[in-house]
């Protein structure tokens, strides 16, 4: 680990097990020695580039590739026609839809893939794009999701048999409509809002790409790819390309950020694979930033209509109706039985009497996607909805937003708690966490300051959000993606020297797996983390798993790592009993060592046991040599982290610019394996929340042209927009997780946008009568709200 011998921090104790441990993976990154996709060069490698549609909706009349093929540096130009002969023109999506790999009949969104060029270098590949002549016949485009189901709306998916409208996914419902109607009938207060969660984009700093290397002599396909779900992709490629699954290897290397952007299978990947199969050399395709923003998996785009009711000061019911804009192909990624993801957790942290949720998904002439950007399968949308509605209710009731929540929270004694929409929350003490946030924020002082400032015409807002989310999908009987159960494996091998290697399915994209998983083994077995190697993200060498997204690394892979470590520990006990000539039940464990109860000087450390296990010395009856184990972990439930967030904003009364002055985040994610890494995840997610709340949006004009296709217009917060985040914690262990841990990576993105928007409304309600505003709260939009004209997107 980090040792610079004579500096003060070097004397900091290094935990064996849980605790603040500096990261092992830093060693290569701080030296610029990470190996990201574009850093990989293979002998004979050629470069791909994609020609993309300028139109949102158009018939393809002709494609003329002859000029491009004349360029001496161009090896091939692939179009839909070529792919058809390979059966690859269309591919299945994770949502059981189909998506065009290269457009043949029509283009259905601006940026859609039309042709794939393979050339000797990337500069020439891009030159060649300008030499391909495509004739289009533009068609009217469906851009407004609310109008997608109008009777006269153009039909987008005329490629699908029997598709007569733009419905992407049938109506999905959760909760109880009758009970909800009753709750509303008995309510004394009702609020109603149209709330939009606009389209935004995960935009990891490293764009998506792949090197496909097919060896025609052996039939082996090696794939280098930043990939959050490599095993699932391998299964898809085997199916789509008609290749043998055991001859496909996906190796992830270092990934420059995922955030859900690197979950889908993209046409560029299939083109690279097809190109390599046909050309017999490695083909690298890596997209530029415009391609990333315009064509890869976007996030959100939920148009929601909601009502919330209360009686006697307590929230009692919620009704939500959603139009989900899925773009031109349905490629959302979520467990099969949950086509709207986990949106129905919008019942929130409250002891409701009833809730009723309806979600309808439509096609539009925009890029496909929807589930991404740390959303926990639509929980970002759900929490935004419920926390904005609670804010609206508080305004209507003239109640303090924290007091209203406190009165309505699920109480600690009610856990495990079954919600009105079918979730079983595992553990929680919400009031405690809320109080910690209030204390860190100095809530009473803030309210006083706000009142004083208001007198002087200064606009300050305090916004609250309290979220409960469910992460770590999931139990095999409920959760699968494309028929693959959402379980994850872990393999642990302890070598003769007592050092170990743990293999897990998915490659970290910054979450620190190389450190935290070593810490789990260290905690369970007492092997120091620097002696535990974490191997991940290589389908040939790591176990099957569904990958890392939806904050499942700790709940699922972490559970697997704990269970496999305990299996090894149990085997070690049996071996130790033979070594010490005693019975296994006479041994006790202290971290790293089995010892004889009542005679602690008699014991065997894990390293000694390992050496013994590989020697020729006799093993216990029926036990094989070696010291390793394998596990596939089936989580019994999701885990339910929660948090209390408070945002403080200042708004310039004349220019309407919003500044986040402070952000207080108190998270409860159960037991924390590495608090430093947990805090870091929260900082990052809060910055994303600021981006979403104030400046990030993927928007379109009436013709379907994307207006935010570069980082000049897709604005991501810099260090100047982010305050010094103030974090707190409470720890309420997860009762069913082997380590008592819950996931946390997405919580900050889930909880922060509603806190910020509630703060903006709080700043403007008393003075300007603002009751609602949509994201992003750009200066122009905030100003319009202040004039009494809140302008929703589109």
């Amino acid at each position: 680990m980090a040792v610079v011998e004579n500096l003060p921090s070097a004397t900091q104790e290094r935990p064996i097990g849980f605790g603040r441990l500096k990261r092992k993976e830093d060693a290569r990154f701080i030296r610029g020695q990470g190996t990201y996709l574009d850093d990989i060069r293979l002998p004979g490698m050629v470069h791909g580039a994609i020609l993309r549609s300028p139109y949102a909706h158009a018939r393809i009349v002709s494609i003329d590739t002859s000029r491009a093929l004349e360029h001496p540096g161009v090896a091939a130009v692939i179009t839909a026609k070529d792919l058809e002969t390979l059966g690859l023109a269309w591919m299945p999506t994770i949502s059981y839809d189909t998506q065009a790999v290269l457009a043949g009949d029509k283009v259905r969104f601006q940026g859609q893939e039309v042709a794939f060029v393979i050339a000797t270098d990337e500069y020439i590949a891009r030159d060649a794009l300008q030499l391909i002549d495509v004739e289009y016949e533009p068609l009217p485009a469906v851009v407004n999701a609310r109008k997608a189901l109008d009777p006269d709306a153009p039909l987008i998916r005329d490629d699908k048999d029997g598709q007569t409208d733009n419905l992407a996914s049938p109506l999905w419902e959760a909760g109880d409509e009758d009970a909800t109607n009753r709750a509303f009938a008995e309510a004394d207060t009702i609020v109603e809002r149209d709330i939009i969660y606009p389209r935004c984009h995960p935009a990891p700093l490293e764009t998506c790409g792949m090197i496909a290397d097919f060896n025609p002599k052996t039939g082996q396909l090696d794939i280098y790819n930043g990939n959050q779900a490599p095993n699932a992709h391998r299964t898809v490629y085997a199916h789509v390309a008609g290749l043998a699954e055991h001859m496909i290897r996906i190796k992830c290397n270092d990934i420059g950020g995922g955030f859900g952007n690197k979950v889908p299978v993209y046409p560029g990947y299939v083109c690279a694979i097809a190109g390599s199969i046909v050309a017999g050399v490695p083909v690298k395709w890596i997209e530029d930033r415009t391609e990333n923003l315009v064509s890869t998996g976007f996030a959100r785009d939920y148009i929601m209509h909601a009502e919330m009711c209360a009686r006697d000061g307590k929230i009692t019911g919620l009704r939500v109706d959603v139009i989900a804009d899925h773009g031109a192909f349905d490629s959302t990624a979520q467990p099969t039985k949950f086509p709207a993801g986990f949106f129905h957790i919008c019942c929130g942290s409250y002891d409701l009497e009833a809730a009723h949720v309806k979600v309808k998904a439509v096609y539009t002439n925009k890029a496909p996607g929807g589930v991404a950007y740390r959303c926990s399968f639509r929980i970002t949308e759900a929490v935004y909805l419920v926390e904005r509605m609670v804010g609206a209710l508080a305004l209507e009731m003239d109640a303090d937003p924290i007091e209203l929540r406190m009165r309505s929270f699920i109480k600690p004694e009610q856990f495990p708690y079954e919600t009105t929409t079918g979730w079983t929350y595992d553990s929680g003490d919400y009031a405690k966490t809320m109080k910690v946030a209030m204390e860190i924020a100095g809530y009473e002082d803030l309210r006083r300051e706000q009142a004083e400032k208001r007198e002087r015409g200064e606009l300050m807002g305090i916004g609250v959000s309290f979220f409960t989310e469910g992460v770590g999908a999931g139990p095999r009987k409920h959760m699968d993606i494309l028929g693959l159960a959402m379980n994850d494996g872990a393999d642990l091998r302890v070598h003769p020297s007592g050092k170990a290697m743990i293999s897990i399915s998915a490659q970290t994209q910054g979450q620190g797996h190389e450190t935290t998983f070593a810490q789990i083994v260290a905690e369970e077995l007492g092997i120091p983390p620097e002696d535990v190697q974490v191997r991940h993200g290589d389908t040939d060498r790591t176990p099957f798993g569904l990958g890392t997204y939806g904050s499942r690394s700790t709940p699922v892979s972490g559970g697997a790592a704990a269970v496999v470590s305990r299996k090894v520990r149990d085997k070690a006990r049996l071996i130790a009993s033979t070594m010490l000539e005693t019975r296994p039940e006479d041994l006790a464990w202290e971290k790293g060592r089995w010892y004889v109860k009542g005679d602690p000087s008699q014991g065997a450390a894990i390293g000694e046991i390992a050496r013994y296990a590989y020697s020729g010395d006799p093993m216990p009856e029926g036990l094989e040599g070696g010291l390793d184990a394998q596990v596939i972990y089936d989580p019994p439930n999701l885990t339910y982290p929660y948090g209390a967030y408070i945002a403080v904003v200042d708004i310039d009364p004349e220019t309407a610019q919003v500044r986040v002055r402070r952000f207080i985040a108190v998270d409860d994610c159960g037991v924390r394996i590495n608090p430093m890494i947990v805090d870091g995840q929260i900082h990052g997610g809060l910055a994303e929340g600021i981006g979403i709340a104030l400046m990030e949006v993927i928007s379109f004009d009436a013709e379907g042209n994307c207006l935010n296709s570069s980082f000049m217009d897709y604005l991501i917060p810099t260090a100047l927009e982010c305050p010094d985040f103030e974090l707190g914690e409470t720890v309420t262990p997860c009762p069913h997780h082997p380590l008592g841990a819950k996931g946390v990576g997405e919580s900050p993105n889930v909880g922060s946008p509603p806190a910020i928007v509630n703060a903006v409304i709080d700043a403007l309600h008393d003075t300007h009568g603002v009751k609602h505003i949509d994201m992003p709260c750009t200066p122009a939009r905030v100003w319009a709200a202040m004039q009494g004209r809140p302008e929703p997107p589109q």
Binding site: R126, D288, T290, N708, L715, P779, W783
Partner: protein, 292 residues
Amino acid sequence: MQTPPPLEYERATSVEGAIASLQRLGGEARVIAGGHSLLPMMKLRVASPSHLVDINDLTELSYIRQDGPDVVAVGALTRHAELLDSELLAEHYPIFRDAELVIADPVVRNRGTIGGSLCQADAAEDLSAVCSALRAFVVIRGPLGERVVSMDEFHVGPYTTAVKDGELLTEVRLPLRPGGGSAHEKVERRAGDWAIAAASAALWIEGGQIIDAGVALSAVGPTTVHLTRGEELLRGSSPSDELFEQVGQVASEDCAPFADGRGPVDYKRHLAGVLTKRALRRAAARAQGREA
């Protein structure tokens, strides 16, 4: 990443040599200095000059100096970072530091130049408004010698200046007069972004009266908006909040913004007014020695 189309490159070793190359190559050639306007456009393939003449070695064009009692001269190749750091400019024209702090980002400011910014002539460009408000002149050199042009003459239209093919902008000349104060106010969606609107104001105050004024706006017209009507109101008046409000009103009325991703027309007009008022307030305070 997107990449530029094929190009020919030459590096100028003298100003005369650069001009001669530009003359020879005609409309197919562009000068490249900081390159942070030109190269992104070439990478997106919306600009494709076949020849680039690199003038970064012409250090004789990089300077900030007082040129006699009445002029501060700034070489066209002076980088934004140098304009930001310059104590000479900060002392006489604090508007430069205001503007530079909000132009692009600190890393881009190490490359971009004042000449490049002015010649790019993007209506949202801050230094164009600054120079207009300061009543600067620019020196354009061609094969037949130099000519000096006012900012009004310099701004011809969107992305178009008085610099013709075969000519080079070499210097910006800032009139130096006593009693001056200046300020730049900008609103953007995020640090480093182009302005939604920005206002530059310069006032020269003597004996409690505004003897001269310069007001110009960024991002609210097809090119930099020179607020002549506002200046007329200011000249001969005493500085006051009411006066500045009035000029702000003129700014709202006289600018010609169009709606885009940064904002709709009414908001931009509103900002033009607010920022003009604020810039004038600070310019007056500085002229009267009140604000640092």
